[in-house]
Symmetry: none
Subunit: 219 residues, 4 copies
Amino acid sequence: MDKQDYLQHLINAGEEDVQLTPKQAKILEAAIEIFAEKGYAATSTSEIAKKAGVAEGTIFRHYKTKKELLISIVTPGIIKLTVPFFADQFVSEVFKERSESYEQLLRKIIRNRFEFVQKNVPLLKIIIQEMAFHEELKQSFQSIFIKKIFPKFDEAVTQFKKDGLIVDYPSSSIIRFTMTTIIGFIITRFLILPEAEWDDDEEIDRTIRMLMHGIQPDS
Amino acid sequence: MDKQDYLQHLINAGEEDVQLTPKQAKILEAAIEIFAEKGYAATSTSEIAKKAGVAEGTIFRHYKTKKELLISIVTPGIIKLTVPFFADQFVSEVFKERSESYEQLLRKIIRNRFEFVQKNVPLLKIIIQEMAFHEELKQSFQSIFIKKIFPKFDEAVTQFKKDGLIVDYPSSSIIRFTMTTIIGFIITRFLILPEAEWDDDEEIDRTIRMLMHGIQPDS
Amino acid sequence: MDKQDYLQHLINAGEEDVQLTPKQAKILEAAIEIFAEKGYAATSTSEIAKKAGVAEGTIFRHYKTKKELLISIVTPGIIKLTVPFFADQFVSEVFKERSESYEQLLRKIIRNRFEFVQKNVPLLKIIIQEMAFHEELKQSFQSIFIKKIFPKFDEAVTQFKKDGLIVDYPSSSIIRFTMTTIIGFIITRFLILPEAEWDDDEEIDRTIRMLMHGIQPDS
Amino acid sequence: MDKQDYLQHLINAGEEDVQLTPKQAKILEAAIEIFAEKGYAATSTSEIAKKAGVAEGTIFRHYKTKKELLISIVTPGIIKLTVPFFADQFVSEVFKERSESYEQLLRKIIRNRFEFVQKNVPLLKIIIQEMAFHEELKQSFQSIFIKKIFPKFDEAVTQFKKDGLIVDYPSSSIIRFTMTTIIGFIITRFLILPEAEWDDDEEIDRTIRMLMHGIQPDS
DNA sequence: GATGAATGAGCGTTCATTCAT
DNA sequence: AATGAATGAACGCTCATTCAT
């Protein structure tokens, strides 16, 4: 099984949530909720067990250590969060046909990821928090980003630049700015100000317009 | 002492790092470093004491609890990080005279905050991480943002919009997009990819250009 | 379950020492011994654990706090010590039939409590010592005394006074003097001078005789 | 300085509260109050220092250890509490002249000790509590009792017995019963039910009458 | 004499993990 | 597979005591 396959496997596992016993599902569910609320380090396994309605020992039957439980949540989480940036079927089509603009590509991506995050806020919170403290999670993320996201993104940007549809800045800068804008919006929307009143469709549109045309008029 | 004065006091205290005994300084220094590296919850007071070269009891002579130590680090940190967004003298001048553009205002802000973060990376990391888990820190931040940053930002954006220098989107959207772009750049630069090769001046320029004009040419 | 039943339940629980795991029994045993010897506050849980032959954590699995451990010892102890003053079957009989004198009632009580204390010296010591510092224990004791001991004692004394068998002093004074004499004897016997040579039967007799007739002859 | 002299010295020291700096007096005062309230082991020196209004170090300048502070309180306390049982001038007179009865001797003693305790409740509490846990205090007490109290008490009882004024029981029993009655009354009065309504003169009288004549009439 | 910062041992308690059932 | 009692290391924190000022 080469690395590609391994990732593919993880993706499938992630998307389809393979065979989990009901207890295991309960444990994961409880752990995600509490990890998101208090952070991994501040969460006790007994708390997870209680919330999941299982005995403490049961957790350790399925996950050798507390850390393995975290990784079992975060690693598939990273994949489910990042890979669809370019793996999504619509996106692929748009991108392959290039019949549509960069703007439309971004709109698809942002809409798709918006919906995913909307249903997985706690997971996103855990990923952001814990990646900062666990080297192996950071590696996981970087590896996926470098292998799956960046090349496609780079390819797209390069092509659009060649077609004269986006400015001729270094791809890395354009990608960074694009991702910063998308992620910044999503984090503001769901983590920083989730309780503000949002007109989501309008705000997505405006965000993409600002991303494409900036905030200076007539420019 | 009214609220303004109090904040001013905090800012001064912050900038000048008032009267700290040498041991207290050592403790803060050590705590900042370890909190940033492993997170507050995963850091033990004995570890801080060892790194600071003091007895564990000494920490508790200066800070009643471990949490108080965290707050003693983060609260002034938030102030030092956020208030200068608009309290900086140059920025104030630029803004008052409006002899220069929004672009130049942003350039001043981004340069100023860039330099601050450069010298305080661990502090930034702690602020971002721990605000997520400690309600009082979130409140601190929100209070400062709402009282000190947002009104000035709003005033500036409203004026520039009236002058036709920036697009007529809701101020909240423009502010969010602007901050997302600045913060996203700084976080990418110092926390996510600190070891990449960065031409900082060039990247700051490019970031502001993208922020102002978007990534679509001739538009 | 009304109050009566509840107390009865506690008494039974007390007398039969319901279901205790062996480790729990070991912990109680060790705690009683050390609390009696050094006092609650001066006893460390690690010491108890060592003497009980269990891990320190095991104590806290059975008793949430050190204080809860104390209360688990003292509260049933108070009940076992006080309630039988008048709940004892023989005493009840004597008292009901009144075929016998106050003297004989006291003799039964003193003999019965003497034997109980003989087997529970450390428990008595803990009760006396700790009731002074823990309001809830004092309350426990007062509640039992007021509800279970005093009314019966009062009834008996009133009856015997009416029958002209004891002097017409206020019942409270007679009860206080009686208890003081009994308790004073038992404490002297077991706590203050346990190592003196005692002819217990003779001393009990003499104590009751002094209690009944005073120390002045022919009077 | 032989033992007698030493005791005499202690007694004087006790009665006259020799040369104490004001700070030292404050410390003793604070310590007595807190030791009585929470017990020696549960009292921290910092608490004493705070209540006394001195620095923590100051306590240790006057008393090498916390325990020495306790002993400085309790040892003179024991003396002041016990020695006057027979050292009191009036008592001495009564006893020497034997112009009066055992009853009157007791009345003098009980009145005298009643007044002393009334002004020194916390001290009494500390003595009772801490004698149970500190061997040296118990020794102190026993030594004083055996050397100063018992011989005089014994002498008196023997004499009164010879004169046919009290029953011919062993002196030890009579002394124990007498002390138990006096101490039991005082402890009930000041420690167990201090807040009940007491007609002190009446109760002292009744106590002595019960002590002398028992509770059985016509006897 | 008086201070109070500093100490480090020891406290009560929690925790992730093990294992006999 | 699931349990939950048991573990003992480690935690945050307090304490009596020391000592330079």
